[in-house]
């Protein structure tokens, strides 16, 4: 059993008992639920839109190599540099080298989960740069020295009062009534200074458009455009699965991403970047670098049944819908990507033995599948991770023995009946002795959190023998 697994179970139990946390998350996600319900109604046929998005992304992933090379060729022709990073270390080293060579002192970042995944900020700080998160939610969690809580809404777990206290402590700004507009104004003042001094801007990508050779960004706060136009250097870090074949595909993918992610018709800013500043353009960066990140993603292509995971557009809908995520929150998982998609993506791309346990933090309720805009069969993928986790051999020995015993019992109706009888009798004894709901109870895994199960006098099969035949 990995350390990560033990920590997850402990943190999950703590959060499950934290009623204040539950109330905050429920309130925030209910706001989201209502917005998304309205967002879907803007589509004449939401199911048809999902099917079309699934087809677009499936095509892109099926011909990933071809479309990535097409993207590279087209964007390079306009003067951008493309770097293919096999893993986090290569990607970090590439950007860190740029920081050193170009004498970068200040870096501004717009929101990017790929850079979280490779811990880019830490690598750049080691290279001597100061890194500012400029997305408001990311800025808040950076001040708290925390990773993002959610892949779309990084500070979802905080109330405005907690943010007011944080700004008072870290920025010396006092907003007694915690008015959201005034809190935003505080952040804006701090961030403007960073924007005007930064030599490098780093963004992610929501889509990489192959036929146009362009990077597509969906943002809401305007920080994305400042990050990608003000500094001399712009670096894009994007997972290779962000590729889409055609510019025309964005006509559907942009609104679907917004609808599923936040319930908006389309995000406030939809930006296409085709290269560094041209000779006749008034602004834009002098250099544009695109880091195409594998970092384990191609593991998902080694079996046909897992390739669909790469269709993910990181809308966060499966997190919001997940009843487990809603109880334990984003930090309990201890990974960059939490929730249903994270519990598949992490073990597949990082390490199965270390992270496969995440797939068990799921009641297989399948709500995630019903909302995924690219129709990934998330419950099936979670089951496949469990299968491969067992095969990888890090399951507790007792569990392996238990399931071998299960098999032995259910392979015979007589043994099955005897096993059930033993269970009922032992529970009757445990109850008579008053050990129920104590660690001495063999069913303590169940009764620790619940009243004991009923103990019927006889099984159905025994009843049937006596009364069943008419």
């Amino acid at each position: 059993m990995s350390t990560a697994s033990r920590q997850f179970v402990q943190r999950a139990a703590v959060k499950a008992a934290d009623l204040e946390h539950r109330a905050t998350i429920e309130r925030n996600i209910q706001t989201y639920d209502a917005a998304v319900a309205r967002g879907r109604l803007r589509f004449a046929d939401w199911e048809a839109a999902r099917n079309a998005c699934e087809a677009i992304k499936a095509e892109a992933i099926c011909h990933l190599d071809r479309y990535l090379e097409q993207f590279e060729k087209n964007i390079t022709a306009r003067g951008a540099h493309v770097f293919w990073a096999e893993d986090a270390a290569q990607a970090d080293a590439y950007v860190a080298t740029l920081v050193k060579q170009r004498g970068v002192k200040t870096v501004v970042k717009s929101k990017s989960m790929a850079t979280e995944e490779i811990h880019l900020s830490a690598a750049l700080e080691k290279a001597g740069a100061t890194v500012w998160e400029t997305d408001l939610g990311e800025f808040i969690v950076q001040l708290r020295d925390e990773p993002p809580y959610h892949i779309v809404t990084p500070a979802m777990h905080l109330t405005r009062y907690q943010i007011r206290d944080l700004f008072r402590e870290k920025l010396g700004a006092d907003v007694p009534d915690a008015d959201p507009q005034k809190l935003v104004a505080v952040a804006r003042v701090a961030l403007r200074r960073a924007f005007f001094s930064a030599e490098m801007g780093i963004s992610g990508a929501n889509f990489l458009v192959a036929d146009a050779g362009m990077v597509a960004l969906s943002t809401n706060e305007g920080n994305g455009r400042l990050t990608t136009t003000l500094p001399r250097l712009h670096v894009v870090v994007a997972g290779i699965e962000k590729i889409v074949p055609r510019l025309a595909d964005l006509a559907l993918l942009w609104p679907v991403l917004a609808a599923a992610g936040t319930g908006q018709p389309i995000t406030t800013y939809s930006t296409l970047i085709g290269g560094p500043r041209c000779a006749d353009e008034p602004d834009g960066p002098e250099e544009l670098h695109v880091v195409l990140l594998d970092n384990g993603r191609t593991n998902l292509l080694t079996a046909p049944e897992t390739a669909e995971v790469l269709r993910c557009i990181r809308c966060g809908a499966c997190l919001n819908m997940c009843p487990v995520y809603r109880q334990v929150g984003g930090h309990a998982y201890g990974t960059t990507y939490p929730g249903p998609i994270g519990s598949i993506f992490t073990p597949r791309t990082v390490e199965m033995r270390e992270w496969g346990h995440m797939a068990y933090a799921c009641s297989l309720c399948t709500a995630c599948k019903s909302v995924c805009p690219v129709k990934i069969d998330l419950p099936k993928q979670l089951l496949l991770v469990r299968r491969d986790f067992v095969a990888a051999g890090d399951v507790k020995p007792a569990e392996n023995v238990g399931f071998r015993g299960f098999r032995w019992v259910v392979e015979s109706a007589r043994r099955f009946a005897a096993g059930g009888w033993l269970l009922r009798k032992s529970q009757a004894v445990v109850r008579a002795l008053g050990f129920s709901r104590s660690p001495l109870d063999p069913m303590y895994v169940w009764t620790k959190y619940r009243a004991p199960m009923p103990v019927p006098r006889q099984s159905f099969r025994a009843w049937w023998r006596q009364h069943g035949r008419q």
Binding site: A12, C362, R386, A413, P456
Partner: protein, 248 residues
């Protein structure tokens, strides 16, 4: 009604058989009342879902093979559970390797039904002559709804129960937190999800919470007991089995 299969094989999930047998007895009562001849193949044990959901597929496969052997000749199989039917219909095709056995399993899955699905869709019955003069709220269980597509059938049946007052459950399709192996691997989270579910149940003020999945109810009963609530869980088939209380 003429096309209704007369002969029905009762598939009793392992935990129903051993822990909540009344659900199967009540399902049997209802099936006989509408004129079915019901048999209980005594060689059945477990559909294999506990092992399958835990990732132990080689321990689950013999269960699927056994299920196909035991029920393969049945014209029609009915179970008092949505989840276990979904195991057969939805997951056996993933579990079994391509071959004749898998083909048989797929065909069998198409004629294996959850009780209310069978009553309304196959038998064409939405009034089974039940009487239950109580307020009830309905929990729409995960596998029955999203995997089997059973939404209206239980509600149609409840609408025809004499004296029953159905109170709509807020977020009726949210998970109760059971999840099989999940309920013990993440016991605290599972119980917290049950508590969230029951807070919605409380808000209806209903005397009973019902479901077509006895496994959800078994879990909710445990959480009700641990949180000292008054609402009572009852399997939907058990409501359908009730007739005039005076006659009980």
């Amino acid at each position: 009604m003429t096309a209704m299969p007369r002969k029905v094989a009762l598939f009793v999930p392992c935990f129903v058989d051993q822990v909540v047998p009344q659900a199967a007895v009540d399902a049997l009562t209802v099936l006989r009342r509408i004129g079915c001849e019901v048999i209980f193949p005594a060689d059945q044990t477990c559909c294999g879902q506990p092992a399958f959901n835990s990732g132990h597929w080689s321990e689950a496969r013999p269960c699927a093979e056994r299920f196909v052997r035991v029920f393969g000749d049945s014209e029609c199989v009915v179970a008092p559970s949505g989840s276990c039917v979904s195991m057969v219909r939805t997951h056996y095709p993933d579990l079994l390797p391509v071959g004749p056995l898998r083909d048989d399993a797929i065909a069998l899955g198409q004629r294996t039904y959850e009780l209310t699905e069978f009553l309304v869709r196959i038998a064409g019955v939405n009034d089974v002559g039940a009487s239950f003069p109580h307020s009830v709220t309905y929990h729409a269980s995960c596998h029955a709804t999203r995997e089997l597509g059973i939404y209206r059938e239980p509600l149609e049946l409840l609408a025809h129960v004499r004296g029953l007052e159905l109170r709509p459950l807020p977020a009726e399709g949210d998970c109760c937190g059971f999840g099989g192996v999940f309920s013990v691997k993440f016991g605290a989270v599972s119980a917290a999800m049950g508590d969230t579910k029951l807070a919605n149940v409380d808000s209806t003020g209903a005397e009973y919470v019902t479901s077509i999945d006895p496994s959800c109810l078994m879990h909710l009963e445990g959480v009700i007991g641990a949180t000292k609530r008054k609402v009572r869980p009852i399997y939907l088939g058990s409501i359908l089995a009730q007739q005039q209380e005076a006659a009980q």
